[in-house]
């Protein structure tokens, strides 16, 4: 634009006025705008302030558990078996482990801990909780390593060093089958128990009394409210909502000294006879208290307490002798001749056999085309219940079983506790099998064959029982007919030592049998020893009564012979009189995969009795156990 030569006289007034109006309009816009913001603030801060304050509180606080002190475990004499000791654990919070660094961090961590990176990865991936929950990678890490990891925390994002209480099993593998162990909770268990306050990185009893008495040992976790920041880091404890309540402690019925003696006896017998597995249980027949329980091979609970490596655990699982299983209660085997107690007492009680009735034993019993031979192929001639039991004549008991019939035989077996768990306070107890018509129909869709009745009468065929069931049946014989529920925990005491649950024998049932008949069977059991059916056991300076058993199992070898187990189940009358039901010690020995002339179980228990009674004589017959591969004597 071209400027005019003379500036025009411009009246500025209308322009200034317009500008003033517009400034005022702007001011009004400002007030309206800010007024709008204030209105919104009134709503947010004054009207909804409480709700937002609550949301802010929920943001910053988190309720977290306070671990309770797990109860410890003592033997019956107050000797500590399980203790808690502080140890370092290494944990990873997956959410804080950046994916890009994951492999690198795992590699470094594995190197520091001496672990397989694949194991660490598997543990993190197998985490039962969410990405924000800690996963335990290693337990019982030495202080030096824990320090090293703590120092490298900048290079190890998501890795934390925690001080935890670790279980210390004082005697190592000695009582592992009874005590069990604690281990990391798995996803399914967590799901079931999270309502009871279990946490994803919790330890839980996984076997033995650690498992059975989990609730009592664990106590009750406390609860506290913790302030955290946006990344989840804990800032401070705001308040304790509930104090943690320490777990109760257990006092076992087990006597460590007896356990050691039993273990010594089993180890000797296994070594001498080349057994694959060995079991010895000692109990008080008057109460059902288990004094010693040995099942070998076994494992060391401490391996689990330290966090067992995947490889070591796989090795335990792959071992054909199943060291993780307690052969005394988790496994069932044919009871063999020990079962003749049921057949004999049942026939006496049902009046199918008189106390002094003579029955002609034969070399075999013919049923249709099949011959059922006595173990002594000559037979024993005419026998009573006492001599028949003493010689363990098969043909005698075949005839008795025929008189009794399968249903009554099964009835008496169940009366003695066969076919049902004893209810011992240890996990995973097997029930055993007592065959009868219904069972055969349900299982095989067939009726019981007559020959199977004979087999059942001598504890072969379908009969299977756990060593504990067998011991418990003889304990009922020893105490005059009361079947007790075996127990390994005697008392439960709280953290201050007050008894929470005193010892109480638990009666399963009383056998409805005249005392005379039980006395007769005890005399018969003593005759087993005095007849030298058990070789030199009679020479011990104590009175022992019991029954041997041998049962075939598995597959035949090249010479058509089956491997077999030996049993010896016995009791020791307190005053040397077998007719009195006053025994306070009943013992069972079980030799798995025996192939020796002598009864390895009898030798095993004999050695234990020598140790138990501190006998100055040694009547063991190791030569009998070393002469192998003989299939014969019962």
């Amino acid at each position: 634009m071209v400027a005019p030569a003379l500036p025009p006289i411009v009246d500025e007034r209308p322009v200034r006025e317009r500008q003033l109006v517009r400034l005022l309009v702007f001011a009004i816009v400002m007030l309206i705008g800010i007024g709008g913001l204030v209105a919104r603030l009134v709503y947010l801060q004054l009207v909804s302030g409480h709700q937002f304050a609550q949301l802010a509180d929920e943001n910053r606080t988190v309720s977290q558990s306070i671990a309770s002190t797990r109860g410890v475990i003592f033997d019956r004499n107050g000797r500590a078996l399980v203790l808690n000791e502080p140890s370092y654990s290494i944990k990873v919070r997956p959410a804080d482990l950046p994916f890009s660094q994951r492999d690198e961090v795992i590699a470094r961590l594995s190197q520091l801990l001496g672990l397989d990176p694949a194991d660490v990865t598997a543990t993190i991936d197998g985490n039962p909780g969410s990405r924000f929950d800690l996963v335990r990678i290693a337990q019982d890490v030495p202080v030096a390593k824990a320090d090293l990891i703590a120092e490298e925390h900048l290079d190890l994002p998501g890795v934390e060093v925690a001080v935890e209480s670790k279980r210390k099993y004082v005697d190592g593998p000695l009582l592992s089958q009874v005590l069990g162990y604690t281990g990391a909770i798995d996803a399914d268990t967590l799901k079931a128990l999270s309502s009871q306050g279990y946490l994803p990185d919790d330890l839980i009893g996984r076997a033995g009394v650690e498992s059975t008495y989990e609730t009592q040992l664990r106590g009750v976790y406390g609860q506290e409210t913790v302030e955290r920041d946006a990344t989840g880091r804990k800032i401070q404890v705001l308040r304790t909502d509930r104090q943690a309540q320490a777990g109760d402690s257990l006092i076992l019925t087990i006597d460590t000294t007896e356990q050691r003696k039993a273990q010594q006896a089993v180890e000797w017998a296994m070594k001498t006879a080349g057994l694959k597995r060995g079991v010895l249980i000692a109990m008080n027949p008057q109460t059902g208290e288990i004094l010693a329980l040995v099942s070998l091979p076994t494992y060391d609970s401490n391996a689990f307490a330290q966090g067992i490596s995947r490889k070591a655990f796989q090795a335990l699982l792959a071992n054909p002798e199943k060291p993780l299983l307690d052969n005394a209660i988790n496994q069932q085997f044919p009871p063999g001749s020990t079962y003749k107690l049921v057949t004999g007492l049942g026939a006496l009680a049902d009046k199918k056999l008189g106390i002094n009735e003579q029955v002609m034993s034969k070399p075999y019993i013919q049923i249709g085309p099949d011959r059922f031979w006595d173990w002594n192929r000559l037979g024993f001639g005419s026998l009573t219940i006492v001599s028949g039991f003493a010689h363990s004549s098969d043909t005698f008991f075949f005839q008795v079983a025929q008189r009794l019939g399968i249903e009554r035989l099964a009835y008496w077996a169940r009366q003695f506790g066969f076919g049902a768990p004893t209810g011992i306070d240890l996990p995973g107890e097997a029930a055993g099998i007592v065959p009868d018509e219904k069972w055969k129909q349900d299982t095989f869709g067939q009726a019981i064959f007559p020959g199977e009745v004979l087999q059942a009468g001598i504890g072969q065929g379908y009969d299977v029982a756990t060593p504990l069931q067998l011991l418990n049946a003889y304990a009922a014989l020893a105490n005059g007919g009361t079947l007790y529920q075996p127990q390994v925990v005697r008392e439960i005491v709280d953290a201050d030592g007050n008894v929470v649950q005193p010892f109480q024998p638990k009666v399963i049932r009383k056998l409805d049998v005249p005392p005379l008949l039980l006395e007769t069977m005890r005399v018969a059991a003593r005759a087993v020893v005095t007849s030298r059916h058990t070789f030199n056991l009679v020479e011990l300076p104590i009175v022992v009564a019991g029954k041997t058993g041998t049962a075939e199992f598995g597959t035949r070898d090249s010479k058509g012979r089956l491997p077999f187990h030996n049993w010896w189940v016995c009791f020791v009358p307190s005053h040397g009189d077998v007719r009195k039901p006053d025994s306070t010690l009943a013992v069972i020995g079980f030799a798995y995969d025996s192939n020796t002339v002598g009864n390895a179980a009898t030798e095993m228990v004999k050695y234990y009795l020598q140790l138990h009674f501190d006998l100055k004589v040694d009547k063991r017959l190791p030569d009998l156990l070393r002469r192998g591969n003989f299939y014969g004597g019962n």
């Binding site: 801060q45 943001n59 910053r60 920041d229 946006a230």
Partner: protein, 386 residues
Amino acid sequence: MGVLKAQPAKVSDWARNSVGAVWRAYDLQLTIYAALLAGLGLAMAYSNTVAAQTALLDPSSTFARGLMWAGIAFVVFLTATAFDYKWLKTFAWPIYLANLGLLGLSLAIGDGVSGAARWVSVFGLQFQFSELAKILMIVVLAAFLAGRHDRLDRLSTILGAGVLVAPAGVLVMLQPDLGTSLVLGAILVGMLFMSGASLRWLGAFGAVAVAFVPIAWTYVLRDYQKQRLLSFLDPSSDPQGSGYQLLQSQIAVGSGGLFGKGLTNGTQNQLDFLPVQTTDFVFALVAEELGFIGALLVFGLFIALIWRILAAAHRSTDPFGSFFAAGVATMVLFQLLVNVGMVIGVMPITGIPLPFITHGGASLISLALGLGILQSINLRQARAEW
């Protein structure tokens, strides 16, 4: 007297004024309000530093850096006050070109978060030139409008101003910095409006701008910008994602209640639930720790400040001074409304700082420059004779 011509004042004019006259012309209130707001910003930086558990005067602490920027800003303010603003009119075009140059430079060598090229390192300090660009743009626009003060209601004025702002707006948009380009647009509209531009034409352009929104949505905005704009409508739809900040800031504001939780006691701030709590979302921190009362104090200070700026606009006999003041007032008000609106969930998230309080050197220095120029304008007015 006729039109007050835009010409550089002579240094001797300054010397001739008595100290008393200078004091009377100087708007002490304006300075005090701004200083109080900046002080509030420092208080928030202090609170944040306590939360971060860094030593108060550690060079890396928010508080120490805030203090340093405040010092620099004070020097800039004093310098700008002493400087005769009339030279700005003379140098409007060089300033304009320098402004575009700086924005181009930011685009070329700047770096920033998520691929945005906003910050340029100057002597080791991060500086955001787009903040400075706002003030420089106000200077240029004020000079342009002052030159056309007798034909302000013409279409050519509006078009010309638009053409001036457009390159800067585009350069800022390319960084990409949606917020600053919006502020530039607001400054344009505010200055045109208050200078007395034709309402009819402004309305027409407003309609065109509204029609342009769908096109801009489709072709101009980037996905993250769209997501941020949308998330304010329903922050709970994605509480861990884009809605997180909005949700957390509303919780912070709401939980402050009437009196607030007290300085350094805001849990949302102290425990880091509130992201960017000293920059774009600093108002949430104010509202949480100082409560409704603190927020009212902030608003009160802003109203008083803007009132003084508008007074300066009215008082100025020089159209450049009036228009410059109008530009500063628009900028401050727009940023206040959009920033606080964003924090309390009534406006979409755009990266617009809260004047004076948001922690950041460029914003504070640019404001100090603006207010310094404003004081310079206040000091150098002959009384209007109409």
